[in-house]
């Protein structure tokens, strides 16, 4: 390994382990959840897990806020252009199409029992596979550009996830429902900002921020819509407000983010049901997600003049939002069969490990970095 190449891949390696700035060490906490969950120690029993539903909604709202504020901040600094978002969306769509098509073919042929029909199941699995781990890469080199493409594939998941959640929640007019979700996000965000503007002390401000986030998550959970979208809208709005307000919200939200993400991962781990269906579903999901990301890397890299191998190392590590969306969908399905969450969580863990191997032993990537 040439000197300096390890350092060049440090962000991608961190993402693979889940130790990025926006992501908790997912592998550790998911495994903790598995150990504490009903399948092993049963400390987190099924009944107890059901009590954590509000925490999932609130976490989704917080993650949505960070997606929105990140998008807004990047745009305001001129580092995000239409083309980077386009690239991220393109590779996300390729991954989505690859995984969904392959899984639909398999589910249709297998006759594997699912809590939803095979087409919906394949679409959900494809959607949860699109997201890559967020990596904070400063600078303007090739690696930085690849990292931005990996960062902005969250938007596709947030957008399509809103429709998926509304569809599975039983809403008939999806466009109207998603529109209402956006309006709800705006109203709650404006109300929260107005409260923050009049808050005098730090504890007072923290209460307002926490209350607003709980309201975002709770309203979405009550109406059967996506808290990610509400949060994303609120994040965009707050980021566009006065810098003082944005900074205050960011500092308070970061205090909330890590505990909530930890809870989310532990819940996801505890929700895993070790069944034959899981084995059948998770193994091909890992393979076809990787295939989709590699195809997406190849196509996107050609369009944007990036080394495909380098881009693949950034896109391969899966992100937490896939698990978050799977939990959100599990909530609206209201079924005891957690096969979809189990498959997404297990495949995320497996894909993290696979991505780590890819980062360490990917000779193409190393040569690409050297060339860059």
């Amino acid at each position: 390994m040439p000197p300096g190449s390890w350092r060049a891949f440090a962000p991608a390696r961190h993402a693979a382990l889940g130790f990025s700035e926006h992501a908790a060490p997912s592998l550790v906490f998911v495994l903790t959840g598995v150990v504490l969950g009903p399948e092993l120690l049963d400390v987190l029993s099924v009944n107890l897990l059901a009590q954590f539903d509000p925490a999932v909604s609130v976490t989704l709202a917080v993650l949505g806020i960070f997606v929105g504020s990140g998008l807004s901040a990047a745009a305001s600094h001129g580092r995000v252009t239409f083309w980077w978002v386009t690239g991220a969306t393109l590779q996300g769509l390729i991954t989505f199409g690859t995984v969904a098509a392959a899984m639909y073919l398999l589910l249709h042929q297998w006759g594997l029992p699912l809590p939803v029909d095979p087409l919906t199941g394949a679409a959900v699995l494809g959607l949860c596979s699109t997201v890559s781990a967020a990596v904070r890469e400063t600078g303007s080199g090739t690696a930085s550009n690849a990292a931005r493409i990996a960062d902005f594939d969250d938007l596709l998941l947030v957008a399509l996830g809103a429709f998926a959640v509304a569809w599975l929640a039983g809403w008939s007019s999806l466009v109207v429902v998603v529109g209402l979700t956006l309006v709800a996000g705006v109203v709650i965000a404006v109300a929260g900002a107005a409260l923050l503007a009049f808050s005098g002390t730090a504890p007072e401000r923290s209460v307002f921020v926490t209350g607003t986030v709980f309201l975002l998550g709770g309203a979405a959970a009550y109406t059967g819509t996506s808290p990610l979208v509400s949060g994303c809208v609120a994040g965009l709005l707050w980021a566009r407000m006065q810098r003082s307000v944005t900074a205050l919200v960011d500092s308070d939200l970061k205090k909330l983010q890590h505990p909530l993400v930890v809870i989310l991962l532990i819940i996801a781990g505890a929700s895993i049901q070790f069944t034959y269906q899981l084995l059948w579903l998770a193994a091909p999901l890992v393979l076809f997600r990787l295939t989709g990301k590699l195809i997406g890397s190849l196509v996107t890299a050609r369009l944007f003049g990036l080394p495909a191998g380098l881009l693949a190392t950034y896109l391969a590590p899966p992100g937490l939002l896939g698990i978050a969306l799977a939990l959100n969908i599990q909530q609206v399905l209201s079924t005891g069969d957690t096969l979809l969450v189990s498959a997404v969580t297990a495949s995320t863990v497996a894909a993290e490990l696979l991505a780590l191997v890819l980062v360490i032993f990917q000779p193409l990537a190393l040569s690409s970095v050297e060339a860059a």
Binding site: D42, W110, G111, A308, A312
Partner: protein, 449 residues
Amino acid sequence: MSRETRLLLATITVSAVVLVALSRFRFPERPAIVAASAPPLELLAARATYDELSGVVATVESRISPSLVVLRLAPNIPDEPRTLSDVLGSGTSDAAVNHVPGLRIGDTTAIAAVDGDARFFALPGDPSGIIPQRLATDSVRRLSLLHVSPDPGSRLRSTTLGELRTPTYVVVVEGTRAGLSYRPLFVGGGDRFLDPRWESPLLAVGAVALASPGSLIFSLEGQFLGSVVVEEGTLAIAEAREVVATADRLSALGSHGPFDAGISVQSLTTQLAAALGVDHGVLIAEVHPAGPVADVLQSLDVITTLNGRPVDSVDEFLLRLARRIPESDVTLTVIRDGGNLTLSLGQSPDAEPPGSVPLGGLDVTAQPGSGTRVVSVASGSAGATAGLRAGDVIRRAGHVSQPTPAQLAAIVQTLAPDAYLALTIDRAGSQRILAFGAIGGPADADAPR
């Protein structure tokens, strides 16, 4: 083509091959795997669960026990007066004695799964010594409204009705010689089935799960959920609201036997269906000219629905018709001469058995030189409650010796609602005295002590 492109294409090719290979499989139908032994932590958790369940049952017991009463009855014990040989005979064997829980409906009334002419006895050790009396009986559902000892502490009306949602744990209450027995019972997601005796579907339960028909079922919150019945050999739970509705109906109407429409019905065979041009229903074979529906139905009518529900078998039709209460209407969809008719049976003119109104359900005839002979006794009637049987000869009614049927009717009609008439009867050469109460159900609630 660059090296990385070749590698990516190779990955895609491998994925496609794997996809094709995997798609050739079918997911196997695997039987549920039952663990040979539970892990220690699971056993500890189970122990805690059982302890918790015991505590819940104890709480429910204290809550619902004022609403319950245990009844001791025996269908085979010979009438009093009895001798030692009667007591030591087979008629008093333990198997002949039955204990049934009753659900208090009012201060002195209870509903219980008691059928036929079973005789009640005071509970051993019961300081009140009050013998329950049958006030009215629904012979279709085999439920009786009973007069029981008053309990100032009873608060049955405060017992709320619940709906049985499975799978769940319930508290089953059974009658024993020592009183009432409470125990938890798991009711799985058993199938529900329709029985013509009941309006709502019954929940089938395993035969091993429940000890005896007539047991009462309560939720872990103390709500009354239903009563255990046996229909066509299947143990099932009848819904609470139907049991209570039956009790209310018996309170309001008194005894009423099954409605006999005076018709003969037969199944619709394939040949008959083809001949009549119908595809389902039951066929009216004969209508008794003096029957209550003689002016409504006629032979060769095919009944397809009863009160909106399809009719599929003869037994079901007759039972559903028999369940009809006196003041209710019955709507039938009838196919007659190829056309559809909707007919209403209206109120039955002979809902009460003949002769039962003036003489408490007795059909009597004069027996010159002796008095009045009982020809038949309607089940659940005042005469049956008093212990009269067909063949009994009433030799004295109050102070009137050798009463004629007309004298007897006059005496009974002047009897006050809470009064009793001493009847001296001759049964198979043995003379005994019975207390004959006023006619009707709720009015004669106070039994002689």
